[in-house]
């Protein structure tokens, strides 16, 4: 509650600031304000890395480089007081850096690469200003799981519900690599309640809207809305190989080993009724209901009640499977309903959707949007990511130094920037270079051939 007040009240913030000066030592009070953010953009934000990334090798000297590439990318800034600056574009890393430092945006969004510089779009007729490239992006927000998590709701997250995001990363990341053949994938914590995914392969950046929508639909399983209880419907006699793999390799484990107990999915009547609703067989549901209502009175079992009830349900459905058609996929449907990723479809479907840049600071939490390593995403803990105030504290600890380039290196942001470079940026730029070289050579070959004719 007090945090909420601090965020909303400008005056409180000032008082906070005074207190900070009075305090001895390096402690920096929690919170988020323009002054903190100025220091962050001045000393810590990796402007150069963002520029390198968004250039995709076009900032080099190779004759195939498209020098206009970075300048045609849309950036958009959200300033203090919700002032929204769209269609910003920059022609160099210093232009980008200076503008960020000067405007000190609370949020930086990245849009598509247009056919012309977005900042000069008014000089063209609208049909000449079209998005030509854009990373394939995904946005997963834990608020979309509110009907299947009981620990938190809305914007809150905790370690009990965060595994839902871990599941999403694992399922989507594997499919993007193994099914679609993409390699350059960046996962980022959104700063509060979810994760973002950037697929950056050349092939991904050039997808049409229709192809993006097709990929998003490939992932879409959750069909629930406010007026339909059936959240997931698995029709047919079997599952698609992608769903089978997701189920056997990720969902079943996370549902049974984590969510079942951490979310206490069967613990109260209201909760187990929600699951019984998904079983289309009166005799089974009434038998289970009877057991569980009785069991509530005389529960001496040492085992977790959620595990016990889940095993009972599975046993009963499996033993009656042959009799009723509709029960074939029931166990799977329940697991999918409670754990399968729920994407914000619109963000992925269209090229011109904006998405928040990595390494922004979330104004409500003060947390930095750091990359997440999909190979060990189980270990990611949203409650311990570097916060603005913690970073400033770490900077203070080092005392005043002559301006060095890598100040982030001696803060807890260092790990994130190093990961971003070594696991994402370097391999990406290497393959950009290769792609550029091979397309250049084949063009050269072509022009040679046409000359010889």
């Amino acid at each position: 509650m007090t945090r909420e007040e601090v965020e909303n009240g400008r005056d409180d913030m000032l008082i906070d600031g005074c207190e900070a000066e009075q305090r001895l030592g390096n402690a920096v009070p929690d919170g988020f304000n323009v002054n903190y953010l100025k220091v962050y953009y001045g000393k810590l934000f990796p402007h150069g890395d963002i520029f390198k990334w968004m250039s995709y090798g076009n900032d080099g000297k190779h004759p195939a480089c498209d020098q206009s590439y970075f300048g045609r990318r849309e950036f958009s800034f959200t300033l203090d007081n919700d002032i929204y600056l769209r269609f910003q574009s920059f022609n160099s890393v210093s232009e980008l850096e200076n503008s960020i430092k000067e405007k000190c945006p609370f949020k930086i969004d990245i849009g598509p690469v247009y056919s012309v510089e977005p900042a000069k779009r008014n000089a063209y007729t609208p049909d000449k200003v079209i998005p030509v490239e854009r990373e394939l992006v995904f946005d997963i927000d834990i608020t979309d799981y509110d009907d299947v998590r009981y620990c938190c709701s809305g914007a809150d997250v905790c370690l009990d519900c965060w595994p839902l995001m871990t599941v999403a990363i694992k399922v989507i990341d594997t499919a993007l690599r193994d099914d679609f053949g993409f390699n350059h994938i960046l996962w980022v914590y959104s700063g509060r309640r979810g994760v973002h995914c950037w697929v950056c392969d050349g092939k991904a950046r050039r997808l049409t809207d229709e192809q993006r929508a097709a990929i998003a639909d490939y992932f879409r399983l959750y069909k629930g809305n406010e007026n339909n209880n059936k959240k997931v419907s698995l029709v047919g006699h079997a599952l698609h190989p992608f769903l089978i793999r997701s189920y056997t390799e990720v969902l079943r484990y996370f549902f049974e080993e984590k969510l079942l107990c951490s979310q206490k999915i069967f613990s109260t009547e209201e909760r187990f009724e929600k699951i019984l609703e998904m079983i289309p067989d009166e005799s089974i549901t009434s038998e289970l209901r009877g057991k569980w209502q009785e069991n509530r009175r005389s529960s001496i079992s040492k085992d977790d009640i959620n595990v016990v009830r889940w095993e009972q349900l599975k046993h009963m459905l499996q033993s009656k499977k042959q009799k009723a058609q509709g029960l074939r996929m029931c166990v799977e449907e329940i697991v999918f309903s409670y754990s399968y990723p729920r994407l914000d479809m619109e963000v992925s479907k269209r090229m011109n959707h904006l998405l928040k840049a990595p390494f922004c600071v979330h104004p409500k939490t003060g947390r930095v949007c750091v990359p997440i390593d999909p190979n060990c995403c189980e270990e990611f803990d949203p409650t311990t990511v570097p916060t603005l105030s913690k970073l400033l504290e770490e900077l203070n600890m080092g005392g005043l130094r002559a301006d060095v380039d890598n100040e982030w290196d001696r803060t807890s942001l260092g790990k994130s920037v190093r990961f971003f470079r070594s696991s994402f940026l370097q391999p990406l730029l290497k393959s950009c270079k290769e792609e550029m070289e091979s397309s250049y050579n084949s063009k050269l070959q072509q022009s040679k051939n046409s000359l010889s004719w």
Binding site: D144, R220, N227
Partner: protein
């Protein structure tokens, strides 16, 4: 001349192209002005029939039959040899007719593509292979060794779709970049591995249709340019009147401007909502009154409908503000929501005067968590739909009839039945548009008032 006898010989490639043209260039044929118009009208009957079939949610097998019947009924020519010419001429005339605005192009593209899809499906495998070659889609069939290595997955995919025959070694599969079969990817109807989709022979229609659609889409833009720059003026006494008249008869009325009943005011909304809103809008309206909030999809669907009903911009702003400010405060309403309402009325951004959603658009939307938009007949669970119909006062028997249509996915017919039950009079034209529901309802109520008053 080709004689079609009972024993058809295996068609060779050149014959094939004659029976299902790809319409790649305008024919060097002479046409009388009379045929110019008559052929076009015949083809329009086919396309209109397809449009009706689609909006009734007909299944692929039903569509196949429908297309074949429509074609036989309208596109035959007394001289068999002229049939192909009629096909080609009528297509190119309608290209002229439907190239002139975005909406016209969209409709034509969608109907012609559907027509092509089902005509292609009716061809034999050899013909289909020949057509693929015509489109430069000469993919090599997957080798036996490769087939064996992925057979398990292909079987899983086939089993996950009802009615798909299980693949065997003698079946032909093509390995194509997933980008070329978006609709198969979206429906998870193919196995995808490392960026390649394994497409069965009976699925190549998707591959060909994607190509057909993209060619036609580009061609329509070019035709439009040519029409405005070099045809319209010189032909203003001859072709232009025919071309401009042809499209109007079949697209259905435009509901972006309220007509018959002029304006309504805020005070009247409550009453007409109860008497004349279709269920989809009534539901949104009630949710808005209840929660003082609607998510984006709901705001669009209801907002544009109200515009079509005759709510003026100022009234619309007042109406939405009255509700939203109770939840988010009037300041946030002005800042975050007012823009999009003005946008809908063409006062912001691209300044397009947006048209209210048709049934087809509402039915094909995909409401997610927290969403209340969409078509109740399609998106509500059976239980919720029954409850909603009960609240409208629809009798038990009528509810059963509605549910029967819903089960067969005839959502618009279900809505028509509801209309008849609520108004006690027939609805022969069927419901194609929420605003049509509204105006038909108002007509009936007014004539009742006149007869009693």
């Amino acid at each position: 001349m080709e004689i079609i006898g009972p024993h058809r010989r295996a068609p060779a490639a050149d014959v094939v192209v004659l029976t299902l043209p790809l319409y790649r260039s305008a024919p060097p044929l002479e046409v009388t002005l009379e045929d110019f118009e008559l052929f076009a009208l015949d083809r329009l009957r086919v396309l209109k029939g397809i449009s009706d079939g689609l909006s009734r949610g007909k299944k692929p097998e039903e569509m196949e039959k429908l297309v074949s019947e429509l074609w036989k009924a309208n596109m035959r020519h007394p001289q068999a040899s002229e049939e192909v010419n009629k096909d080609i001429i009528s297509h190119f005339v309608l290209r002229l007719v439907y190239c002139r605005t975005e909406d016209l192009r969209k409709w034509f593209l969608s109907m012609e593509t559907t027509l092509f899809r089902y005509r292609f499906r009716l061809q034999g495998h050899e013909v289909q292979r020949a057509l693929m070659a015509e489109f430069d889609l000469s993919y090599k069939a997957v080798s036996n060794a490769e087939f064996e290595s992925v057979k398990d997955k292909l079987v899983q995919v086939a089993r996950s779709m009802n009615h798909q025959p299980l693949p065997s070694a003698s079946d032909t599969f093509f390995k194509v970049p997933f980008e070329e079969v978006p609709e198969l990817v979206a429906g998870r109807r193919v196995f995808i591995h490392k960026g390649h989709a394994y497409v069965a022979m009976n699925q190549v229609v998707s591959l060909v249709v994607t190509q057909f659609r993209s060619n036609l889409s580009k061609a329509l833009i070019l035709t439009n340019r040519k029409w405005t720059s070099t045809i319209r003026e010189p032909e203003k006494d001859r072709l232009t009147p025919i071309v401009e008249a042809l499209c109007t008869s079949y697209l259905g009325p435009d509901y972006s401007q309220p007509r018959e009943f002029g304006e309504i005011t805020i005070k009247e909304i409550d009453q007409v909502a109860k008497s004349s809103f279709p269920l989809c809008m009534q539901h949104l309206y009630e949710k808005l009154k209840e929660d003082h909030h609607l998510k984006h999809g709901g705001r669009m669907q209801l907002g544009l409908f109200l515009k079509g009903v005759g709510l003026k911009l100022d009234d619309a702003l007042a109406f939405w503000k009255a509700e939203f400010s109770q939840k988010v405060g009037s300041e946030r309403f002005d800042k975050e929501y007012a823009y999009s309402i003005r946008h809908n009325y063409g006062k912001e951004g691209k300044r397009t005067d947006y048209t209210p959603y048709s049934c087809q658009k509402v039915i094909s939307s995909t409401p997610g968590v927290g969403d209340n938009h969409g078509c109740p007949y399609r998106h509500f669970s059976e239980e919720n739909l029954r409850a909603a119909l009960g609240k409208l006062g629809v009798s038990y028997r009528a509810v059963e009839e509605v549910m029967d249509k819903v089960r067969n996915r005839h959502y618009q017919l279900a809505c028509s039945l509801t209309f008849e039950a609520v108004h006690g009079s027939s609805c022969d034209a069927g419901i194609n548009h929420p605003n049509q529901y509204f105006s038909d309802s108002q007509k009936i109520l007014q004539s009742k008032n006149n007869s009693t008053g």
